[in-house]
Amino acid sequence: MNSKLDNCANCPAHNLSNLKKLGIDMSSFDYVVALAGNPNTGKSTVFNYLTGLKQHTGNWPGKTVTRAEGGFEYNGKKFKLVDLPGTYSLLSTSVDEEVARDFILFGQPDVTLIVIDATRVERNLNLVLQILEITDRVVICLNLMDEARRNGIEVDARTLSKELGVPVVPTSARQGEGMNELLKYIYDVATGAYICKPYRIKSKSKELNEAIERLSKEIQEEFPDLPNTRWVALRLLEGDQTIIDAIRSGELGNLQRQEVLQIEES
């Protein structure tokens, strides 16, 4: 391929015209993007913007309890976007949180797009930190920037991105602001052009740190391709039955192998 063309395709200013909203046409796709976030951060608005679908959005926490799927094409690559239920955490047992967690863990999305509320960064970070433990391919959509500005709140997206080790894109999805850049980063993380170095939760408890390390080493030996051994170790320590079952049945390892095969084939 011509390198000049490549440069052009990598220029963000040019790229919004490369967005093709595919709606529910997902016959074949190159990448899977999971859409996560706290309730009422504008996840559904982002979903509708990217896919061109008109999923009902409401100013109303907990609108999406089931998984909605849609597609879009960008830079000639087809993306499947999976809208997960909005949750505050991934550590409890309600059905909506399980749907979100199982998809990020077992669905092995190529990118997890986390929508966070710029006016409530601190609380939203709780979920972000948990997701960063599960997967390293994350793009953060710092949404509702218009509301943050109106309330005089300043968020330093650059520092936040440095701290978390993943791209952070300020947006106002309702107005379409920043969506351009968001697409570029989704594309970069999916294709591996941007390598994330995700933040890991630091614990003051020495015993806990040691236990996690020991266990994740053993898991690493058994499932060498698993990217999130630390998180699996944590869940095991907490006695999470679904994870215990997934280890016993080898489901954890199998998923991993399938993904490797798919990559090799393509």
């Binding site: 009422n40 100013n59 309890v65 709780n126 309330n151 709140i153 997206a157 614990s203 236990a211």
Partner: protein, 478 residues
């Protein structure tokens, strides 16, 4: 050989985890959560700057103080509901008669003539044109106008951020009766559609509280039932007061039924959490989203596509076969009397005890798939049963409805009184969920037992309530 080794290795990992868990002690989960919070706070400190004075928040705060206030919260809620219904009642009558004129008075005879000109057998004309087509035309002309007014108004309130405030007001009540505070949210969803409300209960993590929320969701009047309430309130309650008060009084009656539904959902939750589903209410936090200026055009568009067209389409899909069934039961005769009449005569004495009549009960059986078609079915069966001449074109034909007055005339000829109207409104609130909701309940609970409870409990309550209302009404000598 290889597999046994790996299987063993897996067991070793699990055993090791179990051992470490004991060593770390019980409060691992809490430690972990604390860590996450601490880390989040640290990062937020480095990256977020809040304004020194939070002036910008004050508008939201002030508004919340009023909308969720101890004294004004509920009155404002009732007032908002009342205004929405009043606008719906006032606005829907004229377009309804326009649509009826077009679909029933104009197109229906044309279709009949056409069927005659191509020599269609009389029974086929009956089933297709007098049954299926008329049922559909009826549903469109009666359902579309109120929906096209009600849904955008409701969606505007939703978009603005008012619904979570309703939930906030209701939350302490639900906690008091041993249910989950989020049930207030799923209840509000149920006002749109009970099946959606039942699915929304997934946000409740305790299975006990979730079951309570599922069983009681039916007490939220749904879209299929709003038009029934609005029409019957207009015909019977509105006509019992001076004309200039009719709109306001009928709107108030509908608000009363909706509030009664909320009251029943609280009572039943209280009853269940003390008997079959014992337990304490669990704590949760409800986030009040900021008020956002509603996007009027987009709201109109999405409420039209998502709600109006969706519900209307569902109503039409169910009305077509129901129309055929109505025509058949009204025209197939045994010993010279139609099947419908046999059934009506048979259940009339029982229905009388509840201040209802055989027509209503038969209509509710035919309308199990969709509550939307109850009123058309009742009117048609009444006409067929009485053999009213000059209305419609014969037995089993849904006839035109030019104004609410015609409905009144027909129902009064069918022996309806103010009491029948009130009881129909009550029974419309308290009866089995529609078949879609019943199926959803089964899918969500995976339990035949709880599905049956959710189906028959409201019927039992409906019959009890109408029984007492009727007996007291008659004792008072009305």
């Amino acid at each position: 050989m290889n597999t046994t080794i790996t299987a063993n290795k897996k067991e070793i990992i699990i055993a090791e985890a179990n051992k470490l868990r004991w060593e770390l002690g019980e409060n691992l989960h809490d430690i972990l959560m604390e860590n996450i919070y601490e880390n989040a706070t640290e990062i937020a400190k480095k990256t977020v700057k809040y304004p020194d004075t939070k002036i910008a928040f004050s508008f939201d705060r002030q508004l919340d103080k009023i909308l969720t206030s101890k004294y004004f919260g509920f009155p404002i809620m009732f007032l908002m509901l009342g205004i929405v219904f009043w606008l719906t009642i006032q606005g829907a009558n004229y377009p309804s008669s326009l649509l009826a004129n077009l679909l029933v008075d104009t197109i229906h005879p044309l279709l009949k003539n056409f069927a005659g000109s191509i020599n269609l057998p009389w029974w086929l004309t009956g089933v297709l044109i007098d049954g299926a087509y008329l049922a559909m035309a009826w549903v469109v002309s009666v359902m579309l106008p109120p929906m096209a007014i009600f849904f955008p108004l409701y969606t505007l309130l939703e978009d603005f951020g008012y619904l979570p405030r309703v939930a906030f007001n209701m939350d302490p009540l639900y906690k008091k009766v041993g249910a989950h505070g989020r049930q207030a949210l799923t209840m509000a969803m149920g006002f749109g559609c009970n099946a959606a409300g039942v699915i929304a209960t997934r946000v409740i993590d305790s299975p006990r509280e979730r079951l309570i929320a599922i069983i009681t969701n039916n007490f939220s009047l749904c879209n299929g039932r709003w038009p029934t309430q609005i029409l019957i309130a207009t015909v019977f309650i509105g006509s019992a007061v001076p004309a200039y008060l009719a709109g306001i009084v009928s709107a108030a009656a509908v608000v009363f039924i909706a509030v009664l539904g909320i009251t029943f959902s609280l009572l039943v939750s209280w009853f269940l959490s003390r008997t079959l589903l014992k337990g304490e209410a669990s704590a949760f936090s409800l986030e009040l989203p900021p008020y956002r200026p509603p996007r009027i055009l987009q709201t109109l568009y999405t409420s039209l596509i998502d709600r109006t067209i969706f519900v209307l389409w569902r109503a039409i899909v169910f009305a077509i076969p129901a129309g055929m069934v109505i025509w058949l039961v009204a025209n197939i005769t045994i010993d010279g009397v139609s099947v419908a009449n046999h059934f009506i005569q048979w259940v009339n004495p029982v229905a009388f005890i509840f201040g209802l009549n055989g027509v209503i009960l038969l209509a509710y059986i035919i309308a199990i798939p969709a509550n939307e078609i109850v009123i058309p079915t009742i009117l048609m069966l009444t006409v067929a049963n009485l053999g009213i001449q000059g209305v419609g074109a014969g037995s089993g034909v849904m006839f035109e409805l030019e104004s609410a007055n015609d409905v009144a005339a027909i129902l009064q000829a069918g022996g309806w009184t103010l009491l029948t109207g009130i009881n129909l409104m009550l029974f419309s609130l308290l009866h089995n969920p529609c078949s879609t909701t019943i199926y959803t309940i089964y899918k969500e609970t995976k339990s035949v037992k709880w599905t049956l409870v959710s189906t028959f409990l409201p019927i039992l309550m409906g019959l009890t309530v109408t029984f007492f209302v009727t007996q007291i009404w008659r004792l008072l000598g009305n």
